[in-house]
């Protein structure tokens, strides 16, 4: 029996993970944190095995108070870190504090924490570099998107991922980094979801890359396996569905409009300004040209993870916000 701390518990993935951990008889207690107030968070029935706290992880003092307060009292053994800023257009030091500094604080404190022995970081496939001279099937040793010209959304994720990787073997805490395929669901920060979830999607003329997409259910399975596993390392977490971008658009009910790249970028910027849509062509420029499919061999062999949940493609068009 062990206790688990879940940061970012109010995100769709976090919420589903908390629900799953509570149902797991191997888990003694779940300590969930988020930025929302308690009355607005986790809209499902509470049990005595769940504690929710509103914590701003951008402030290192709050992280310290969390880890050496409630987390120590509940004898938390494993931290599942899901908290990251999801909007691709936001930037600045406060975003960086949330995406990178919060993780750094957790890593620093976990090293000298009396009960925490394991940290699971949910990273993203966006950390991988996509280029015509790189393979489509991506293993964990694939080059990362280290280009300083990348938007902060990507730079922060790469830095957080590397921050965790560089601590492996150097601290007492076991560190597991899961580089997850995008979950096609609202609120997950998925750029592909933002791309598809529009009546018309603009894509580069003449290109149709292969994409791999996951479901929240599969990502939660992977996070649970990593929570209960032993040892450390980096693992790709692919989704069940691998298909061309055009097929994804067809399945989603989105009309694809092929255009030249130089036109697409400003049009998406205008769309963002007009509608608040979060899809950024700058982040996805290469992904719209060349395929990227995560190779989940290591996750299968070490964690026992295989994607089992295909995307439930919406019939009849995009998901509207109120749904």
């Amino acid at each position: 029996m062990k206790s688990v701390l879940v940061t970012g518990a109010t995100t769709p993935i976090g919420e589903r993970l908390v629900r799953s951990l509570i149902a797991d008889t191997r888990i003694d207690h779940v300590l969930a944190t988020g930025r929302e107030r308690e009355e607005d968070a986790l809209p499902f029935s509470r049990t005595s095995r769940l504690t929710y706290l509103q914590v701003d992880l951008r402030r290192s003092r709050r992280v310290r108070e969390l880890l050496f307060g409630p987390a120590r009292d509940l004898e938390v053994e494993c931290v599942v870190h899901l908290a990251e800023h999801r909007s691709s257009y936001d930037s600045g030091p406060r975003i960086y504090q949330q995406n990178v500094e919060a993780l750094r604080s957790i890593l620093d404190l976990s090293d000298r924490h009396p009960t925490i022995h394991r940290l699971v970081l949910k990273s993203d496939a966006v950390v991988y570099r996509v280029s015509l001279d790189l393979p489509v099937l991506v293993t964990e040793d694939h080059p990362l998107a280290m280009d300083p010209q990348q938007p902060q959304y990507v730079r922060d994720r790469v830095e957080a991922d590397l921050t965790a990787c560089t601590r492996m073997g150097l601290v007492d805490c076991e560190i597991v980094v899961l580089r997850c395929a995008e979950a096609l669901a609202p609120g997950t920060g998925s750029q592909l979801f933002e791309f598809l979830n529009a009546p018309v999607a603009l894509r580069p003329f003449g290109f149709d890359p292969m994409v791999n997409v996951a479901t929240i259910a599969d990502l939660v399975d992977a996070l649970e396996l990593a929570t209960h596993g032993h040892g450390e390392g980096v693992f790709n977490i692919p989704g069940y569905d691998t298909l061309p971008l055009s097929s994804a658009m067809h399945e989603w009910g989105t009309l694809g409009l092929p255009m030249f790249g130089s036109v697409i970028r400003p049009l998406y910027t205008i769309r963002h300004l007009a509608t608040g849509s979060d899809f950024s062509y700058g982040i996805n420029h290469h992904r719209m040209h060349y395929g990227l499919v995560l190779d989940g061999t290591r996750a299968r062999e070490v964690l026992g993870y295989t994607p089992d949940h295909p995307v439930d493609w919406p019939v009849g068009g995009p998901i509207r916000p109120e749904e």
Partner: protein, 280 residues
């Protein structure tokens, strides 16, 4: 993609004979669940390419296949062939020849230069027909899946060789032998006779800022109706001589690549001796 698989299927039925659909139905294919393999290959597009290339294969280039029994029926393998002809009709004819002379039909996976992957429309259509970008990772994945790679070790310099250098193999790259040794895959040498005379190149114009390495200026607007002779040699089983870790030894790889090159050159020399003329 330019059009969906259903359209490719309909076009293949209109353009092709009944044997095209039969081959499509019997294809060995690693479907990822949506009708495509990991690299975007789709059987309906294979059928369309088969149907569209058939007139060229059967009537224009009148391809004659010699020794196709050397093509492995199953499992990983690497076809290593000479490359020539200004435009890659040799690749298309070899692709067709393997598809038609294997049972069940195998789609050889051509490994293309990087610039091909960057070409709009072409990259997508080629991917649907099994072409992959020439990265080590892509080749490794395909061999691990037991696929048959089609590699032209001369690369772009081969296809652009001057007419005076026809049937003289250019600088022979070695990556295919490293892959063969590491993944215990046989290398099947292939000599393509005919293609080297199909479209004599008289000049090439550099295209700065373009993914294409140069714009070839051929002496003819369309390829000449040369007769193709495709000669397959005995598979070279490097796995019987070397261990996978020997792929790290540059000398082993170099000597293996030299043997493949000599085998291809021998097939070319034999093919040139045996043919009765450029058009026969």
């Amino acid at each position: 993609m330019p059009f969906p698989p259903a359209v490719a299927h309909a076009l293949a039925r209109v353009l092709g004979k009944s044997d095209v659909q039969d081959r499509v139905d019997r294809l060995e294919f690693h479907d990822t669940g949506h009708g495509f393999d990991l690299f975007g290959m789709n059987p309906e597009f294979i059928g369309l390419a088969d149907a569209m290339s058939a007139p060229m294969y059967e009537r224009y280039f009148r391809v004659a296949s010699h020794g196709p029994e050397h093509i492995p029926a199953h499992g990983a393998g690497i076809l290593a062939a000479n490359h020539s002809g200004t435009l890659p009709f040799d690749g298309a004819m070899l692709w067709m020849d393997v598809l038609r002379h294997t049972n069940p039909p195998r789609v050889p996976r051509p490994v293309a230069d990087y610039f091909v992957v960057s070409l709009p429309i072409v990259s997508t259509l080629f991917a649907r027909c099994g072409v992959v970008g020439g990265t080590r990772g892509n080749a490794r994945s395909l061999l691990e899946q037991g696929e048959l790679l089609m590699i032209f070790p001369e690369g772009t310099p081969g296809i652009g060789k001057p007419f005076r250098d026809r049937y003289k193999l250019q600088d022979w790259r070695k990556g295919h032998c490293e892959l063969a040794i590491r993944h215990r895959a046989p290398v099947i040498p292939v000599g393509i006779v005919g293609a080297e005379e199909q479209m004599p190149q008289i000049a090439r114009i550099p295209v700065p800022g373009s993914p294409i390495p140069y714009m070839p200026i051929p002496a003819t607007l369309v390829p000449l109706p040369v007769k193709y002779h495709i000669h397959y040699g005995e598979p070279l089983r490097f796995d019987e001589e070397f261990e996978p870790e020997d792929a790290d030894d540059p000398e082993v790889v170099r000597s293996a690549a030299l043997r493949v090159k000599e085998a291809v050159q021998a097939l070319l020399d034999r093919g040139l001796r045996e043919r009765e003329g450029i058009f026969r």
